[in-house]
């Protein structure tokens, strides 16, 4: 709007260039009488060096993403929390005076911060920070070693999804045609079967244990990522820059690894991050119904399951692992959200 008002104005003397022979303060310019000749202009020329020079350091996509991620305080707090959980799960059970399977029969379901007085225990004189469970095992050690199991399963399940889903989706999308059709129909059929039911069924049949849980999740879990990657590859394949590269004679592998793969990465990373809380949730569910991590090993889900019988007497036994699961899932979800915002070019402004 404002532009139009100025448009028909007759320069009010403050125009940048004042023609020769006219006083700068000369009132309204009379454009009809204005005569310009070649002498009014001079060739500035182009300084190749200057125009090609980088004014600011080049920022790669990943650097930029990291820079914007750092600005998001919630994401950084979540990332720190996840790192803390991971480090704590690895280190704390190792430095704990108690073992996750060691029982203290004189100290069953003691409240938090009770000092261990069982003479034959290695950790005598140390504190049961979260108390003990109904079998007299140190809850602090169990919660942290449970974190080890839960986080490991979550991470591995996400990685296996990635390992199967990414090549499957890329191949299907890149080759296209009949192969694509057949591969995607297969995914659709597998997708039609409810995930948790198949995992439960597999867990019933296969021998229990952590590798089985990961395997069961991997068998049916990869379809989502495969679909996502395929969709990305199909759309990127037709982009002008890929066609340009192909026209210029880029080899197939160069097209895939140099032009297509890097551009699917952001979607893949976000989806993999989001798969971790999903897998932790599934593991908790399986352990909760009693077919997940076998005793004496602990996971956050099995800790909740073991504590359920004494919920009204000793709620802390349930509330602590429950809080650990919830907070970790919360952090992973929030971090995944932030990552999506950062990595998605459409969110840029």
């Amino acid at each position: 709007m404002s532009k139009m008002k100025n448009g028909n104005g007759n320069g009010n003397g403050k125009t940048a260039k004042t023609p020769k022979g006219l006083s700068p303060i000369a009132a309204p310019l009379d454009y009809d009488k204005l005569v310009l000749d070649a002498g009014d202009f001079e060739v500035v020329g182009t300084d190749i060096e200057k125009s090609m020079a980088m004014v600011r350091p080049s920022i790669s996509y990943w650097k930029d993403a990291w820079r914007r991620l750092k600005k998001n305080r919630v994401a950084i707090v979540c990332l720190a929390f996840i790192a803390l959980m991971a480090i704590g799960s690895v280190v704390l059970p190792m430095v704990s005076p108690f073992s996750f399977r060691e029982q203290h029969w004189d100290e069953v379901e003691v409240p938090a911060f009770t000092v261990c007085e069982q003479a034959d225990a290695a950790g005598v004189g140390h504190m049961h920070i979260f108390g003990t469970d109904k079998l007299g095992r140190d809850q602090w050690t169990r919660v942290w070693s449970g974190g080890q199991v839960s986080l490991f399963i979550g991470f591995m399940a996400a990685v296996t999804n990635f390992v199967i889903g990414l090549p499957y989706g890329s191949l299907s999308g890149f080759v296209g045609g009949r192969l694509d059709n057949v591969m995607m129909r297969a995914v659709e059929v597998i997708n039609g079967i409810p995930y948790l039911i198949v995992v439960t069924l597999l867990m019933v049949v296969l021998p229990g244990g952590i590798p089985t849980i990961i395997l069961a999740m991997a068998i049916v879990g990869w379809t989502g990522l495969a679909r996502l990657v395929r969709g990305q590859v199909v759309s990127i394949k037709e982009q002008e820059y890929v066609i340009a590269a192909r026209t210029m004679g880029a080899s197939r592998s160069r097209l895939i690894f140099r032009h297509i793969m890097p551009n699917t990465l952001s979607v893949v990373i976000v989806s993999t991050t989001m798969a971790i809380p999903g897998a932790i949730f599934t593991e908790a569910f399986l352990s909760f119904i009693g077919i997940g991590v076998p005793d004496p090993y602990a996971s956050w889900g099995s800790l909740c399951q073991n504590a359920q019988s004494s919920i009204f007497i000793n709620p802390a036994l349930l509330l602590i692992p429950a809080a650990f699961i919830s907070l970790t899932m919360l952090s992973l979800n929030l971090f995944g959200d932030a990552l999506r915002n950062v990595l998605d070019p459409r969110m840029r402004r």
Binding site: I197, V204, F281, I289, P315, A322, S326
Partner: protein, 323 residues
């Protein structure tokens, strides 16, 4: 359109067949045999029993018989329940309670989720938005069984005990399902429904919010405002109608989430439904019931997904064209 629906039906049937096959062969691969008993049967008796149940036939024949029976809903007898209850009977006994719980939860999740999402989008960036989204991210992050225990402990145990002297009856029982008194019947259902619907509600509200925000910034909303429509008319007729579409697509997975949610919720609240039945049959290794319920659940979910696909195709013509 018919081609689209036909296509969907073919895939649903394929998925169902695959599930039935996987279930059958997994159960075949299972270690153990009904005849592995401490007291060995005489050979002739065992042979007769095998012949009676068709276990002497080749696996392929057994498989075909199984498929034929499954189509008619005959899954044999439960291993665990005495008195030769058929799997169909066991499922039939558990289904009503689960359906009751599931339908209530799904309805509440959809209504509250939509409402929360709409409020959040209309107040984007304000306190109401932050609150709604905090609730939503909490709902996505807290596992259903944790929430179930929280409400059981704090509401059914602490709060109910606190208000019992005032009310004269137990407001929310800790577990159980049916009672003769209306007040208590209602009380039995509130907490399981809260625990079951919260996660789905959160998912719906997040989706609704982002879909709504997409719509709000589109040109036809500007047009609607510019031509002088009232705010309410713009919201109801232009924004909500157009942004509610993506919600339809999650109804299939949502039904799955609520259904698998019933596994733990029913166990925790002692609801005699199919979910608890499934868990107990898994724990008791009652294989025929596991097979039967797995197929029942699978068929139910595949059917739900089919309905959602068709409904979406009807509502949004672009889906049909793309297929």
């Amino acid at each position: 359109m018919f081609k689209f629906i036909g296509n969907r039906i073919v895939f649903a049937l394929l998925a169902l067949w695959l599930l039935a096959t996987v279930t059958f062969f997994l159960m075949q691969a299972m270690p153990g045999d009904p005849f592995l008993k401490p007291k060995a049967l005489p050979e002739s008796v065992e042979k007769n029993i095998r012949a009676k149940w068709g276990l002497d036939k080749p696996v392929v024949v057994q498989y075909l018989v199984y498929l034929g029976n499954a189509v008619t809903g005959d899954f044999g007898y439960s291993y665990y329940y005495k008195g030769s209850r058929t799997v169909a009977e066991v499922i039939g006994a558990g289904f009503p309670a689960s359906a009751d719980l599931g339908i209530r939860s799904l309805t509440i999740a959809v209504i509250l989720g939509l409402l929360l999402g709409i409020v959040a989008a209309l107040n984007a960036g304000k306190a109401a938005d932050a609150f709604a989204m905090f609730l939503a991210i909490l709902g996505v992050s807290v596992p259903a069984f944790v929430l179930a225990y929280l409400v059981q402990y704090f509401i059914a145990y602490k709060l109910t005990a606190a208000v019992k002297p005032v009310l004269g009856f137990r407001l929310f029982p800790i577990t159980g399902w049916k009672a003769y008194d209306f007040r208590t019947t209602f009380g039995f259902k509130v907490l399981p429904v809260i625990a079951l619907s919260f996660g789905s509600m959160a998912t719906i509200s997040r989706l609704m919010r982002s879909s709504m925000l997409d719509v709000i910034s589109s040109d036809y909303i500007k047009t609607a405002k510019a031509k002088g429509l009232s705010r309410n008319a713009v919201i109801a007729k232009h924004m909500i109608r157009n942004s509610v579409l993506p919600i339809v697509t999650v109804l299939g997975p949502m039904a799955a989430a609520i259904m698998t949610g019933t596994f733990v919720i029913e166990s925790i609240f002692g609801v005699p439904g199919m979910g608890r039945l499934y868990i107990t049959s898994v724990q008791n290794q009652d294989y025929t019931v596991i097979m039967g319920t797995t197929l029942f659940y699978g068929a139910f979910l595949i059917f739900m997904n089919l309905l959602v696909d068709i409904a979406y195709g009807l509502i949004d013509p672009r889906i049909r064209l793309a297929d």
